[in-house]
Symmetry: C2
Subunit: 428 residues, 2 copies
Amino acid sequence: MKSLFAVKGNIIYTKELGKFEVCEQGYIVVEDDEIIGVFSELEEKYKEIEVIDYGDNLLIPGFVDLHVHAPQYPNIGLGLDKELMPWLETYTFPEESKYKDITYAEKVYSRFVHDLWKHGTTRAVVFGTIHKEATKRLMDLFAEAGLGAYVGKVNMDRNSPEFLCEETQNSIDDTLEIVKEYKDKYELVKPIITPRFVPSCTPELMEELGKIAKEYNVPVQSHLSENFGEICFVKELHPDAPFYGSIYDMYGLFGDTPTIMAHCVLCSEDEVNLIAEKGVFIAHNPNSNCNLASGIAPIRRLLARGIHIGLGSDVSGGHTLSMAHACVITSQVSNIKWIQSDRIDKPLSTADAFYLATKGGGAFFGKVGSFEPGYKFDCLVIDDSCLPHFKPLTVMERLQKYLYTGDDRNIKARYVNGKLVNEPKVIA
Amino acid sequence: MKSLFAVKGNIIYTKELGKFEVCEQGYIVVEDDEIIGVFSELEEKYKEIEVIDYGDNLLIPGFVDLHVHAPQYPNIGLGLDKELMPWLETYTFPEESKYKDITYAEKVYSRFVHDLWKHGTTRAVVFGTIHKEATKRLMDLFAEAGLGAYVGKVNMDRNSPEFLCEETQNSIDDTLEIVKEYKDKYELVKPIITPRFVPSCTPELMEELGKIAKEYNVPVQSHLSENFGEICFVKELHPDAPFYGSIYDMYGLFGDTPTIMAHCVLCSEDEVNLIAEKGVFIAHNPNSNCNLASGIAPIRRLLARGIHIGLGSDVSGGHTLSMAHACVITSQVSNIKWIQSDRIDKPLSTADAFYLATKGGGAFFGKVGSFEPGYKFDCLVIDDSCLPHFKPLTVMERLQKYLYTGDDRNIKARYVNGKLVNEPKVIA
């Protein structure tokens, strides 16, 4: 028998870029994991169903974090005084080497999953490390917590410190093992092929990863055109490649299965064309792009090309898991980009940024990130009563105030895939 | 009899730009309101004094907010989708008109002062509104709370909506009344002459304000070269003025007494020269400058000119009172500026930003914002134990992690001018 229930509150979400849908004191009717619809009054046929009344609270879609590195969580807020390549060598690689220790991994990863939950992220696309066991454990922890995730064992077999460099064949074997074991293990947690980025993967490795992705129909994630130094290094390594993204594409890692490329700050026109043509998603990580002095991605222009875009926290290049904060800085840097572009690239409004943080990134998970019929019911209950209010505000204004000035304290409940998700356990 | 005591903990502060001073498990010895010194061991002569032991907590100077608009607090996090001039007209001016109602003013201002306290701001330079009584009440509330502040009654007698435009003589009279009444009323709370900005003040008004500043030796604050549209308007109004700042200067409002100019995003070379020559302070407001699409102030270049710079939250152009957050975005936009300047204007490190948020702005208050001997004892006790820690961190790293990932929950105690300051009352 199917479960049928409704949640009641001040409903706000985005069907399309830049436009909020609002239903004050409305009902979201949910059947099992899916939304039947949003209604201002309950129809006769729903009169008997359970209604969970959240009073004056806001009901918004759960946040989707399209790019985050779980093993970098211990470095959050640290070492943000370098550009990408030296930052990787100085701070990130040494930390990532620790995850051969499953006890350490469990300790960090359980807190990481807990804190994603805390900040209202209901779905995430996650980098692990090269370590097979730790990555499996991370997937288990997501599943135990009830959050949705794609989790990737990272592949690195060149230009990496010895303590973090794989034998090519091991890298392939371990990836294959995880794909086979976890492809159908969980409903909400799935593997994703994760070559770290071109500099750290041999062509041989990339070729095999592309084959695995295709054979098992597994999605792909990596980094693309993030930072000036990185792009120069890729050019040195692949002088004949027309552009960075073409290298992934050559090996079947650029949209042959669903693909996310993180950053895309400095893409050439040809690269943008290929992204658009192959339906590749872009994960926009403005905090990280500012912290590591990468620049401002031209999101408005990329959106105009019809490219799928979501937001990423990119911890620990980014310094917070809060996707509300990601919305704010998305708008902020878009304002600076607007000036830089001689006022051509229109700023991103709160509604634009919110769309990217919910439905934009949610599209990678299927029907996720909106309250439209047929969408998975991922929902946050926002209690903004403790934020300073001195005058009546519209629901839209209340959402804006929460995004700009609220924090995890305002999130009263989280639903993922139709289920209320309680606080996950942290393993000490 | 003088009071003599010490606080013990992990002490960290900045004497100079870009360099942290650290004393682990050290003592700050305080006599009345002033710091005697920082010691790693207590000398024999201090063996008998009271020691308040904060254990493993961090001890940092209190934050100084060099630019904030108290009456805009109800708008915090709202309406950040416009540039300065339309933002003022649509959101800000209508809100500011409400402060003729002293009950409303008291309600907002008591919460505003409370929330400054909550976020660890121990000294602030504040814009009120044109309203005399509300501005006086704001000064009283600061004094009752035990925080340090310069508070300005705003002057506006042209180009302002009818409901927020003063008669010139009234504006002068009210300013003079406040200056006389409050100049020596409180030790930590003082009046400051506050022409809103050139567009809203007639030359006659500015001339009289300059005279009051000089006669009573009162400091001055205003806005300067914040936004493209604003600067164009000033040029229209004063076609003969060589540059925006020269208009303030002509009327004795540009460094003849201690002066803060907020923003300075788009200053011409001549304007920068005059700022440097006349010792004018700049309040750098990166959140607001991003939110209102003003741009990125060239802080590195201004610092190289020896100009005094502090940070401002600029609520509600800025969306948070947190000066920790102001530090973060100061570094972030400086990274973007570094790219924009063809990598000439070096990024601002955490130590640079922290200096600006403490000693940089503190200098406007005298010896404030550092733990050097002779400085006023303004101090925050930071308990970072609930932030995720997975490895031993240095005191410097712990401060960085608090700034980037902490919030008001981490502030365990606040001292201002030698006194522990408890939670201020909010008037409902």
